[in-house]
Amino acid sequence: VKHSRSSESTKTIITGIPLAPTCTVMRVSCLISDGERRWRDPVKLSVKLSHIATWALLLLAPVEAFSQDRWYFYFSAGLSRPRYDESLQRLIDAEKQREAVSATAGHFDLPGIYYRAKPGLLIGAVLNATFEHFSRDWRYQESLAFQLYNGNFSFLVFPGEIPGQGFFLRIDGGYSHFLQIRETPQSPYRKLSTGLGAQIGLGYGFRSTEFSHLLLHINYFHNDFRDRFVEGIGFFLGFLL
């Protein structure tokens, strides 16, 4: 394609090769038809939606957090020993008899985005995940895993009115997905439960760099799925940017 254009002060010469949109469109349509079956499966759909939500948050959070003074971005990691209802505990006990390791659960805020509504009050949304996995070794492909995904509204209250500094209170509440995975050499079996979750935490924060605060906190969390529950106390360390 060749064109030329002239105006009062600019002359532009254009030359190039157009892209081939047909191939791209065909590829995309193949992907969609291949994925249709998965979209009908509620478990797979939830996992996919969780991933999409996580990536959407990851995409938006850091930029918003850095670009405006009133926006904050929080990520953290934590450890806990959760307590489960009787039916889940029976599964864990059966695993323990097969020498499975009773693991420490790992927690992640992935991430949290907060808006400073008042000097000491941050309001936001947090996507957090908890992972626990019972097996001696990954090579056996015989394991029991629990994964908890929460989408929460979250409040951080700093009585000292400086976000990130001094004692603070954290209150979260929202919906919760609990995924129970039994890994076998054939294929994994998954069971998804949906319910409500809440957590409350107390902690202390101090300035770590010019742009970040280090927060240490202890959270109590409870997730209810009608026929089952997960609860516990976790220790968390995170950065508020």
């Binding site: 010469i13 030359t15 990851l58 670009s67 790992g106 280090l214 360390l237």
Partner: protein, 285 residues
């Protein structure tokens, strides 16, 4: 044609996003071997900045987070590994993430900036190319020193739940089977992060860079865990190194962009009146 397209695609993207449409910073064109000659100075600056009393909280927090992640590494790795093994599309997605961080992408990007800078006499692009190479080189020195010291197993070879640490391993054994020793810290993520920071610092007027850069770094990290090459705990130190060296290497850049002058040739993509996407060359007078 396919090979030519592969080479032309990154250059096209660079032209699309980095063409000096509105602002051109007057920068000194880097000398050929600046990216090597600056390494000792960068290392000195990094040690001066890192081991300072005002960094105790930040370093303590980073090490604390690494410790917490180590304690739950097996659980968090398995949570990524199981879906990776099960879903083909996730496998491809994770593999692309790993490829994005394997160094060749960063050097291809640096090569693209170099070519673009040479074609358009754009000093800022040339400086970006030189600084990407410089940041990767200096990050690599520290990352490799740490890898050769910590000797941590990668997940897919792990003999214990969170991998065995063989501090100060025999260097002959290391070279013979390096993946049994080189998990901590992640070189992929450190170089991806430092490349992103260098580009961001060189193009502060391009507001879209963080929107793309942070998710790409996250994508590389997730891919590395899903493909069982790294643990999550390998990342805080890697990110910190990448960020620090990106900032140190670009610290001497001028922060005051100046408007572009006339009589400056410009190459950029554009649209023809009938809607074709094409390269265009423009000369203002």
């Amino acid at each position: 044609l396919r090979r030519a397209r592969k080479i032309l695609a990154p250059i096209f993207l660079l032209l699309l996003f980095f063409s000096p449409r509105t602002l051109a910073e007057e920068v000194e064109t880097p000398r050929l071997f600046d990216f090597v000659a600056n390494v000792p100075g960068n290392l000195l600056e990094w040690s001066r900045e890192t081991f300072a009393s005002d960094k105790i909280a930040a370093i303590g927090g980073m090490l604390g987070m690494t410790g917490i992640l180590i304690a739950s590494d097996f659980e968090s790795w398995q949570a990524m590994r199981l879906p990776y093994m099960e879903y083909d599309d996730l496998q491809h997605f994770a593999d692309w993430g790993v490829r994005l961080g394997d160094g060749s992408s960063q050097f291809a990007l640096a090569g693209g900036f170099l070519l673009f800078g040479a074609l358009t006499s754009d000093s800022r692009a040339l400086r970006t190319a030189s600084q990407i190479a410089e940041a990767i080189l200096v990050t690599g020195v520290v990352v490799q020193t740490m890898k050769h010291t910590t000797g941590r197993e990668s997940p897919f070879l792990s003999e214990e739940r969170t991998g065995i640490w063989r501090f100060f391993p025999n260097q002959g054994e290391y070279m013979g089977d390096y993946q049994k020793f080189d998990a901590m810290p992640s070189g992929h993520l450190a170089t991806a992060m430092t490349t992103f920071i260098v580009i961001q610092e060189n193009y502060p007027d391009q507001k879209w860079i963080p929107y793309v850069g942070y998710p790409l770094v996250g994508w590389v990290a997730w891919g590395l865990v899903a493909t069982s090459l790294h643990w999550w705990s390998d990342f805080p130190i890697a990110l910190s190194l990448g960020y620090s060296f990106g900032k140190i290497v670009t610290a001497k850049n001028s922060k005051t962009p100046k408007p572009a002058s006339k009589n400056q040739p410009r190459l950029a993509p554009g649209l023809t009146p009938d809607g074709h996407l094409v390269f265009q060359a423009t000369w203002n007078w």
